[in-house]
Amino acid sequence: MTLLLLVLVPLAFGALCLVLPTSPLRLAAMVTGALAHLTVTAWSWLETDAPPTSGLVGLDPVGHLFLTLISVLFAATSVYFIGYHRKRLVSQRVFLACILALLAALSALCMSQHLGLLWVALETASLAATPLIYFRLGARALEATWKFLLMNSVGVALALLGIFCVAIAATRDSDTVELTVATLALHAANLDPVWLRVGFLLALIGFGTKMGLAPLHSWKPDAYGEAPPPIAALFAGGVTLGAFAGILRMFQVCSAAGLGAFAGSWLIVFGLLSIATAAVFVVGNNDYRRLLAYTSVEHMGVLVIGVGLGAAGSYASMLHAMHNMLNKGATFFLAGFIWRLFQTNEIDDVRGLLTRSPLAGVLLLAALCATCGLPPFGMFFSELGIVLAAAQHGRWWALGLFVLTLAVVFVGVMTAMLPMVFGDPPEKASPPAESPPERWRRHTMLGAAAALLALGFGLGAYQPAGVRDALVRAADALSNPVPQHVALAAKAEVRP
């Protein structure tokens, strides 16, 4: 029932957005929808936590964690959007409906235990996301949309191919194939290893495209640079998590089949490549939204490296997923604020944020520290965890590259964006096309960003037992996808 609500609530409010007559009503519907979704998600934690045994849908620890993260991000974004949105939005109905449809698709994705269903949900999510990028209209937005659409479609098709390969691997055993993660993992010993490997690689490339792993990340700076910043926040913190979930499902099957080392090595390769690519493009970038997009590529790399490093790294990776959501939300919210204030994407034209809006300046400074993984923000701990895990496994090369590239990104981000905070505001600012946002709008926008940042700061400094437990259970599920009692039951079945 809860599961159904998680999909139906956003869909219902999305439909409401389509029919409501006035803009404030529609905005209210969207915010209510997102908050209702957050409530249902919170409710789902209170329910008896019997992990899913079979069936197409269910909330396993990983899915539940991701669902919560996505829900929080959507709630924050919807509040932020009240402050961000402008009256002259073209076809606001479709836009808001698409946001809620995206939320529904991502929820369905998090709870789907069946690989095919997961694929359908992910594809639906990317289709719902496409109109969001094209929202600003014009040639540049069109270009970003086209690249996003084409690359993601190809990526998703490759992911489907990967899922088919896994299914073929499973035909060795029996005539009927059930593509649920638990079933596959339970009978993992019978999977054909060659096809499983091929399937994992294809799925990694496919979902990796969607997640924005290098070398298939090239749509990302374009889309994040052209989409409205709150949408970029949803992408960087939410949609990417969905694609990451796809990779994790495949990884779970592989590690159950004893191919964990194989899969892990590839994850590390793609992860390091992503961080290195981000490092190259962050340095000297003069567009703050594109620069933030590259930091997203970097953080995606960190996520997959963590998983690739086995059990110790998995925890760090889950921690990173959480902080990535909080951090990407906050930074893109601030980017949207800056864009409203300065009407430019160029870093060179944005100076003296601290004087023009002291609160925004302080928040951006904090957000930058969080992005670069300075303590006590959570990303410090997740990245440290990955370094420790790499050391523990003796992967010194990976460790060295990881630290080196992270340092380059750190220097790149700081040298590029610190001048935005300090310095003098441009003296003779050409009269901006739009008037600066009103006071209440500014406060809503900054409030949403501040809330996420504060959460990130708080969860970095002090981790409540509940949060830690959820992360640990998700990390455990990565290497042992079959819930304990199911495995026991299966053993009992075999014994007689």
Partner: protein, 220 residues
Amino acid sequence: MSPQTAIDAALVLVTLLGLGMLAVSRLATLVRFFALQSLLLAFLPLAEESMHGEVPGMHGFLIAGGTLALKVILIPYILSRLIRTGEVHREIEPFIGFTASVFIGALLVIGSFAVATRLPLPTEPASRLIVPVALSTLSLGLLTLVSRLKAITQVLGFLVLENGVFILGLLLLKQTPLLLELGILLDLFVGVFIMAIVVYHIRREFDHMDTHLLDALKES
């Protein structure tokens, strides 16, 4: 002609059509090639089921019908409408010339056959050609996608790639639930629909459908 030969022949034709799409410059012809390829694919599930001497079941008919309705009729219709209403009817100067891309395509096909021999199937398939032809179609679609400039041709490349995935899915005909396949078809359709809308916007924005105009976004 036994179902076995029919399947083989259809698969070879599918590959040839994929190669043919690299040689053709008229967009309308490209769409026709794609429709023909999909038509062949639509009958494969039926042929595969009747190979075992059974009457094709509900499952096969629904997939065949869905493919027929979407990939043979609806999508080609949308695309040819786009072409008819637009000013662009030909792919004039592709990134990779026609002859060169046909040769590269042939190499890809040969490569696919070579790779397929290294992927022994766990069970005996309906036809040995399924895996190599799936890989060939996939790579030919990818080649079409990257070597052409017109937005419509790129969409068609994506569709051919999707057809390759479909062929591999034939191996799983009996094993996968119907719902999944219909979901995939539906997603594909919506995807192409959205692509068509974007192509329409590209045309309005730039007066034609060349994607090389889409190069404003890059690192300076």
